[in-house]
């Protein structure tokens, strides 16, 4: 197993860290949750970035803020990588710009997974807040997936996800339309 320290990975994929924190902040903005402090990227530190916000009153807000990066990072990552990944992987004919966009897109997409800190905050909210049963039923598996994603990064699950989703979406569209 090829092991690279997390702070080096964060450094090499720093755009993803920044977008991850921006995503948290964005959903705080949408939910009108006060943001008290933000660190978009702190090289060499753990965590590499963070957003400190008030505890949301609603479980749905807590979940949105925690899980927001999954959607934002995935969408932005795919939007950037999709036009570059086909020339490189399908045609072996990429330009320098294509490789840059793949690095940028995959870096962003691989930071889609919420952190265990985000999972803990949802779990805490589940224990203390009153919410519809259906929402609680939805959130427990999501917490599980967050932990899988987070620990899976040790075996490059985040990278696999980043590359996979960037490759999958455009090729799915191609297969469907061909």
């Amino acid at each position: 197993m090829f092991f690279i320290p997390g702070n080096i990975i964060s450094f090499l994929t720093f755009p993803g860290v920044i977008v991850h924190e921006i995503a948290h902040q964005l959903f705080c903005r949408i939910c009108r949750v006060a943001v008290l402090d933000v660190k978009y990227f702190a090289p060499g530190k753990n965590p590499a970035g963070y957003v400190v916000h008030e505890i949301p009153n609603k479980l749905s807000h807590q979940a949105l803020i925690a899980v927001g990066p999954f959607f934002v990072n995935s969408i932005i990552g795919v939007l950037i990588a999709m036009s570059a990944i086909v020339p490189v992987f399908n045609f072996d004919s990429g330009t320098l710009l294509d490789y840059f966009m793949i690095w940028l897109g995959v870096s962003i997409a691989m930071h889609s997974f919420p952190s265990t800190g985000d999972a803990k905050s949802i779990l805490e909210a589940l224990k203390t807040m009153d919410s519809p049963f259906a929402l609680k039923l939805l959130l427990y598996p999501i917490i599980g997936l967050i932990y899988i994603g987070s620990y899976g990064s040790i075996v490059w699950l985040d990278l696999l996800y980043g590359v996979g989703i960037s490759l999958l979406i455009p090729n799915l569209i191609i297969s469907f339309m061909a």
């Binding site: 006060a34 943001v35 999709m82 455009p170 090729n171």
Partner: protein, 348 residues
């Protein structure tokens, strides 16, 4: 004490940021509306704004490029699907479109090379080969397939240097002289299947179908799916009246490439020989639609028009030869002699 309690209560209900008493409800941290606005809509620092502008620019570039990338991806995927269906003419068309956008794509060039080979378009295949030779091909399966095609082309379609010189020297010779030169050559030189095919073809041209069959069957023994071998045997069977066998040889070729236009045109000629003129016209049109620029398919269609009494259409095709849109003096001269009655292509 009352004063302290009052102050305490006011402090709990007041904005944590500015101390205002007008708290926005529904949140855990007491803040007034204005402070909540400021804190929830916390401004991004300049560096992050620049980062976001850069990101937006890159997303726009990606979105602008994506339609072209998507179309080419679809084209290439269609080519692969045609290939899987053994429709190599359609596959080649799609790969040609792919190369227009990605002229340096080793994958697409390889695919095109293989498709051209299956269509017996060896000149075009060699032209692509010259572009792709020396390129690194990451796909091992594709590389192996391309190498197998190259070995086949080498064996069946390319003369040795000495044989090429012989052919050049015999360009104006009578066929009997040419055949003797080849036979002499075969005594002392490596006689590859290209040379054998050249000899078989020469025998066919002088009407010695038995010798032609004997040599071609040797080629087929070693390369059972050789399209040129099978089609030459189809022609021999056609001329000797064994039409069913002739059709079978054509179908063998079509098993490997359902769009092999020469094989389809060959079927048209077989049907013309046995007076199934309507069926012949259908095959001839199918072949021509696949490759209108091919002299053999065009001349076959002209023959089919002639025997179906569609003389206007026939003459339009002959015009194509006359004004240079179609290259093939052999076929043009053959058509002129058949249509003028100088040559009897079939009994009536």
């Amino acid at each position: 004490m009352e004063e302290n309690l009052k102050q305490e209560l006011e402090h709990e209900d007041s904005c944590k940021n500015c101390g205002s008493n007008y708290i926005e409800q529904g949140h855990s941290l007491p803040l007034c509306e204005e402070c909540r606005d400021i804190l929830s809509k916390r401004q991004f620092p300049i560096s992050i704004r620049i980062f976001l502008i850069g990101l937006l620019a890159i997303i726009i570039i990606s979105l602008l490029n994506f339609p072209k990338v998507l179309n080419t991806g679809i084209t290439y995927e269609r080519g692969i699907r045609f290939e899987q269906q053994h429709k190599y003419v359609s596959a080649a068309k799609e790969f040609e479109k792919t190369i227009e956008v990605y002229p340096d794509s080793a994958y697409a060039l390889c695919k095109l090379y293989i498709a051209y080979y299956h269509n017996d378009e060896i000149y075009q295949a060699m032209s692509v080969f010259n572009k792709v030779v020396g390129m690194e091909i990451g796909n091992e399966e594709l590389l192996n397939e391309a190498n197998a095609v190259t070995a086949r082309i080498d064996e069946l379609y390319l003369p040795t240097e000495e044989f090429a010189k012989l052919q050049e020297g015999a360009a104006n010779d009578d066929l009997d002289v040419y055949i003797n030169k080849i036979l002499e050559y075969s005594k002392d030189n490596a006689f590859n299947n290209y040379a054998k095919y050249a000899l078989a073809n020469a025998y066919y041209d002088i009407g010695n179908y038995e010798e032609c069959r004997k040599i071609t069957e040797e080629i087929i023994k070693e390369f059972p799916d050789s399209s040129m071998g099978n089609l030459l045997l189809a022609a021999v069977d056609r001329e000797t009246g064994d039409f069913e066998s002739a059709i079978e040889y054509c179908n063998k070729v079509l098993e490997h490439n359902t769009e092999h236009y020469s094989a389809i045109a060959a079927k048209a000629r077989i049907e013309l020989k046995r007076y199934n003129d309507e069926a012949a016209l259908k095959f001839a049109q199918e072949a021509y639609n696949l490759k209108p620029s091919d002299a053999y398919t065009a001349s076959t269609l002209a023959l089919a028009y002639h025997y179906n009494n569609k003389l206007e259409d026939r003459d339009k095709l002959v015009e194509q030869f006359e004004n240079g849109n179609l290259q093939g003096d052999y076929y043009y001269n053959m058509l002129k002699s058949v249509f003028s009655g100088a040559e009897k292509w079939r009994e009536q």
